[in-house]
């Protein structure tokens, strides 16, 4: 499945430093953005550039680079747990319209480097949002790992971390050090 979107159209991005919890920006709801604003388009390009240089990273939200805005990028292409895949795309002002088939899974976050947690996420979702650049409104129906990634990034845009959704007092784990 492909979207009317090509990350290359955003232009060359700059790799930005990633912000780590407990940075306040990670805990407050982001503001809505104008997807056609050149600054928003540039930030989307920067998010792609930053995600691409981060090993294993499949999504990155604006608050993770210090911008309290409702904008994120995602790309689960080739991930073993992915089923439906829409490629690499950025989404502004995304909202979850439908969520079903809740499933547990363990996730980590670039902004919480030392911990992972068990979090229930919907295995099938319908999401609305706007594409940076064209500003086109789209609706995405997806499942499995792409659905989990979208929910994680939409949470970031709402000022929420996976720690806010872990399934129990023993559901947070020390993450091993990746070399």
């Amino acid at each position: 499945m492909s979207l009317p979107f090509d990350p290359a159209d955003l232009g060359e991005g700059t790799v930005l430093p990633v912000v780590y919890a407990p940075a306040p920006v990670l805990g407050v709801p982001g503001e809505a953005v104008d997807p056609t604003d050149p600054a928003v388009v540039r930030l989307a390009a920067d998010l792609f550039a930053t995600m691409r240089v981060s090993p294993g990273c499949v999504g990155l939200a604006a608050p993770q680079v210090g911008a309290g805005l409702r904008l994120f990028v995602v790309d689960v292409t080739g991930h073993p747990k992915a089923s439906t895949v829409h490629g690499a795309y950025a989404l502004a002002n995304a909202e979850i319209l439908e969520a079903s088939r809740w499933r547990p899974g363990r996730e980590g976050c670039m902004s919480v480097p030392d911990l992972t947690g068990d979090v229930k996420r919907a295995g099938r979702i319908v999401v609305s949002g706007e594409l940076p650049g064209s500003g086109r409104k789209i609706t995405i129906t997806t499942d499995a790992f792409e659905a989990r990634a979208l929910q994680h990034e939409i949470d970031h845009c709402a000022g929420r971390l996976f720690l806010d959704r872990v399934s129990g007092a023993h559901a947070v784990y020390q993450r091993k050090v990746y070399l």
Partner: protein
């Protein structure tokens, strides 16, 4: 900066954690990593606290609570050693003597490092859950050996990776 290991165990009641945490906070002891849980009717707290502290000070602060406790200086924080991929071992079956000993000996023999383990006995059912770190290359061998142990103990054992996905 000293790091002290504190264990407190007492009959479970509301307020037991607050009592201990307040006593430590009043001393300026910063509670770092801890695990606190109810084991049958006993509430158990195992925690590390850091600060400019002496063992005797903490002992004096905890004594009035009337709960059995132990305080020990454990020196400075050691960096966590990486030991491979993470796996979850889950065991369940009829309770019998030596399940934990047999399973953990097998894990140790394979070089698996246990990072978290809990057991529960409910009626005749015994459940053991262990998170382990193990070099990925050794996983298949360990899985086979655990299957042998499972047959000997007449319990079910599953062994699976718990790799988290970075989002």
């Amino acid at each position: 900066m000293t790091e002290l290991a504190v264990t407190v165990i007492g009959p479970d009641r509301p307020g037991i954690v607050a009592d201990v945490a307040e006593a430590l906070a009043a001393l300026g002891a910063n509670l770092t990593d801890s695990t606190m849980t109810r084991l049958r009717g006993h509430f158990t707290m195992t925690l590390i606290c850091a600060g400019e502290l002496r063992v005797e000070q903490v002992e004096a602060a905890l004594a009035p609570l009337g709960l059995p406790f132990a305080v020990r200086d454990v020196g400075a924080d050691e960096p966590v050693r990486q030991a491979g991929e993470t796996y979850l071992v889950s065991v369940h079956g009829a309770d019998r003597l030596g399940i934990v000993a047999a399973v953990t000996r097998e894990l140790a023999g394979a070089g698996a490092n246990i990072t978290d383990l809990s057991t529960r006995l409910t009626g005749p059912l015994y459940v053991l859950l262990a998170e382990v770190e193990l070099p990925a290359a050794d996983a298949a061998t360990l899985a086979e050996r655990l299957a042998v142990v499972a047959a000997e103990l007449d319990v079910g054992i599953t062994f699976r990776p718990t790799q988290a996905d970075l989002l």
